[in-house]
Amino acid sequence: MIDFDPSTFGLAHTYQKEDKDEINTLALPSAPQVIYKTLNGPTQINGGNKLTNFKHGTTTLGFVFKEGILLAVDSRASMGSFLSSEQVRKVIEINEYLLGTMAGGAADCQYWLAYLANHCRTYELKNGSKLSVAAASKFLQGILIGYRNSGLSMGCMIAGTDTTGQHLYYIDNDGMRLKGDIFSVGSGSTYAYGVLDNHYRYDLSLNEAVELGIRAIYHATHRDTASGGVVRVYHIHKDGWTKVHDGIDVVDLHYQFAKQKGLVGDGDEAKQRLF
């Protein structure tokens, strides 16, 4: 017979009560558990013991501006330090008016965003109107809370357009759902935020926003080893989404930006010792 002892309920443990008099009890930790929550990392209990979280090795970003929403992502997949692919598609096209970005476990993101697509289409057929971005993101959050602590790894952004405008949500595997104007997810997000926060304005034009997204991803790919490959850029507007760039090589961007700064690579500009 399984019984829940209230004192161990919070630890999600179950134990069998023996028919004998002695009962096996689990020792509780004496210190209170402190749960740390960060935007891009796993929920850590008692400080955690991970230095870095490789499952989120990527850089994705999205921001809301006057022309809609801009999403920009990199395309690298790495297994530890080995680069398994430089051509991954981290923006998932849920339907013509919703996009999802992928960070964390690729399988998890692909599957659950496809599941969300299915749900959106079913709703549309049953109710005669499209599912709002808020509702779609909330649906996904509900699923992820149900799978909490089971090892799913997803740090995605849901961005889309509906009758109330264009909206951007951040969803992760802990069941967090945040509505916001600027998000960057992944190991390279800190570098991307640096560039993004410095030049972001609500009244950017489309071209300026695309430039900003590309630049932020480039800087993240340069500094972060788990990000790289090509930059893919999507724009969400009132009529749906448009793929602005399918893949700009970040290496080309590096040399382009270097040239703009006057570094033409004809020597070691800092005149460092070579031998």
């Binding site: 330090s81 680069l83 790289g228 040399y255 800092a270 460092q272 031998f275």
Partner: protein, 204 residues
Amino acid sequence: MSGIFEYNGGSIVGMKGKNCIAMACDRRFGQQMSTITTNYQKVFKIQDNILLALSGLNSDIHTFYALMEKEINLYNLKENRKMKPTTFANLVASSLYERRFGPFFVTPIVAGLENGKPILATYDSIGCKSDLDDFQVGGTGGNYIYGACEAFFKPDMSPEELEEVIGQSLVSGCDRDSLSGWGGVVYVLTEQKLTVKILKTKQT
């Protein structure tokens, strides 16, 4: 990224040619997943005819190089002559073994020309010398560079061919390793000169 050899990242490769040797290294200095600079020196000219390449923990790269500089300077002063590459190769092995129970976290490659004959030696971090191969690799991207080397290498190449082959091997190898890259430098040493070329690589 566990492991002290993976903390800073970096890759090196050395090759023998016909009366010449070549050494190549990447230029990244990082701390785990973050890149700090892209112009870190990993190949050192010990003497006009000896090059020392080091990969591993950057702190120990610098310290071990400084130790070798000191040794060769003292040798020059005491013996009033240049050190032979084979002697230096031995010196590296014994200096590493001196720290057997608290080693330098480096994997060195020594390359040199002794009377026109190319010398190439590689070591593990406690000084096991291996000098029988025609090319050797080291660092986090080493295994990926091996693949490219095996495909491109042939014995007795001219300096120009060697430069091309070692450059390509380094770049292809580093492209699969996230901890190496951000530029490459190729050194080709012949009896007459040492040429240094900076390679344009992925900066990501």
